[in-house]
């Protein structure tokens, strides 16, 4: 049962392997050249397991100790996970102990796959999601650690490889789009984010976007539910 779930889960994680190894190595190298031992990226990739925050944490660790400011920053960068949790409330039900790890490891990429993948009937859903999360966690951890050890020894022309993550989210967005009859929710997500990005800038548009999305979904609840087709 587990082996079958693993075999089904693995192909979904291949693009994430490419992306995480590249970004994880970059992160490890960045920490290394910033003067940190490889233990830092290793521990942080295992415990935080969230790329954008870990990059930010480098500058936090290099500046003055400011616990409260750090905490507020962390909540703002990571607030989108609240959405993931709300979307996965039903899907994670009855997963037993695995549920704890599924929530712990719910980064953008794990959430995206677990939320949208068409898991065949004869594959155990719990183990499928478990292996997706575990593989992603392993890719990120190994990439960050190797980058931290090798540091600036690595020279490569992989400029643009990070686009693999963008491409993956575009594909997942498209898949979701094709599943829906009406696209109110997708429009609300796109429009809120673009407008907030223009208004608030790249570093602080996520929280206002989330507020706009919730407001939009609440305001449009009747037509959205009437259109149906919500998965």
């Amino acid at each position: 049962m587990k082996w079958k779930a693993f075999k089904t889960a693995f192909p979904y994680t291949i693009p994430i392997f490419a992306g995480f190894w590249f970004l994880g190595m970059t992160y490890g190298i960045y920490m290394n050249v910033s003067g940190f031992s490889f233990v830092y990226p290793m521990v942080m990739s295992l415990t935080v397991f969230g790329g954008s925050l870990e990059f930010l944490a480098v500058s936090m660790l290099l500046s003055k100790f400011a616990p409260l400011q750090t905490f507020i920053m962390v909540l703002m960068v990571q607030a989108r996970h609240l959405f993931y949790g709300i979307a996965m409330l039903d899907r994670f039900q009855g997963m037993g102990l695995k549920k704890f790890y599924l929530i712990f490891g719910m980064c953008d990429e794990s959430f995206s796959i677990n939320c949208t993948a068409d898991i065949p009937e004869d594959v155990d859903r719990g183990w499928f999601m478990f292996f997706v999360t575990l593989l992603n966690h392993f890719y990120w951890f190994s990439g960050a650690t190797v980058g931290g050890i090798l540091g600036s020894l690595v020279t490569f022309n992989t400029e643009g490889l990070d686009f693999v993550m963008t491409a993956m989210f575009v594909v997942i967005f498209l898949e979701q789009w094709l599943k829906e009859k009406k696209h109110y929710t997708a429009y609300i997500g796109l429009a809120s984010s673009v407008v907030c990005l223009l208004l608030f800038g790249a570093d602080s548009f996520l929280v206002p976007s989330m507020a706009c999305i919730v407001a939009g979904l609440t305001f449009m609840r009747k037509p959205i539910e009437k259109a149906g087709g919500l998965v």
Binding site: Y40, L62, F65, L75, T158, F169, V170, T185, I213
Partner: protein, 108 residues
């Protein structure tokens, strides 16, 4: 920063992250029924989230200067075209990424 302060800082990163990941599951436990409004949000959110994540990935794109985001635009069109044509996730992602790398390394 002393080593203790570094450990506390990293601890705050872990704590804050886990708070955002676990909070919905703590607030809406399986013992009492989840409010209808939250269940609606759970169903309506994914498409909106993926729209937000695409924009998030492109947040540092230079639309008004530099290459005007042309490599991103071209590569995303290719991803979409490949995906609508073959519906093969890995093919669409690989095709778009190779195209993007080629564009930023040689043309732009």
């Amino acid at each position: 920063m002393t080593i203790e302060q570094q450990i506390i800082t990293i601890g705050i990163c872990v704590l804050g992250t886990m708070l955002t990941r676990f909070l919905p599951f703590l607030v809406f436990s399986s013992k009492k029924p989840t409010p209808e409004y939250v269940r609606y949000l759970g169903r309506a959110l994914p498409a909106a989230i993926f729209g937000m994540l695409v924009v998030y990935c492109l947040r540092n794109m230079e639309v008004f200067s530099g290459n005007h985001g042309l490599p991103e635009l071209i590569a995303i069109c290719l991803v979409a075209a490949l995906h609508l044509w073959k519906r093969q996730m890995l093919l669409s992602i690989a095709g778009g990424t190779i195209c993007y790398m080629f564009l930023v390394q040689t043309i732009f």
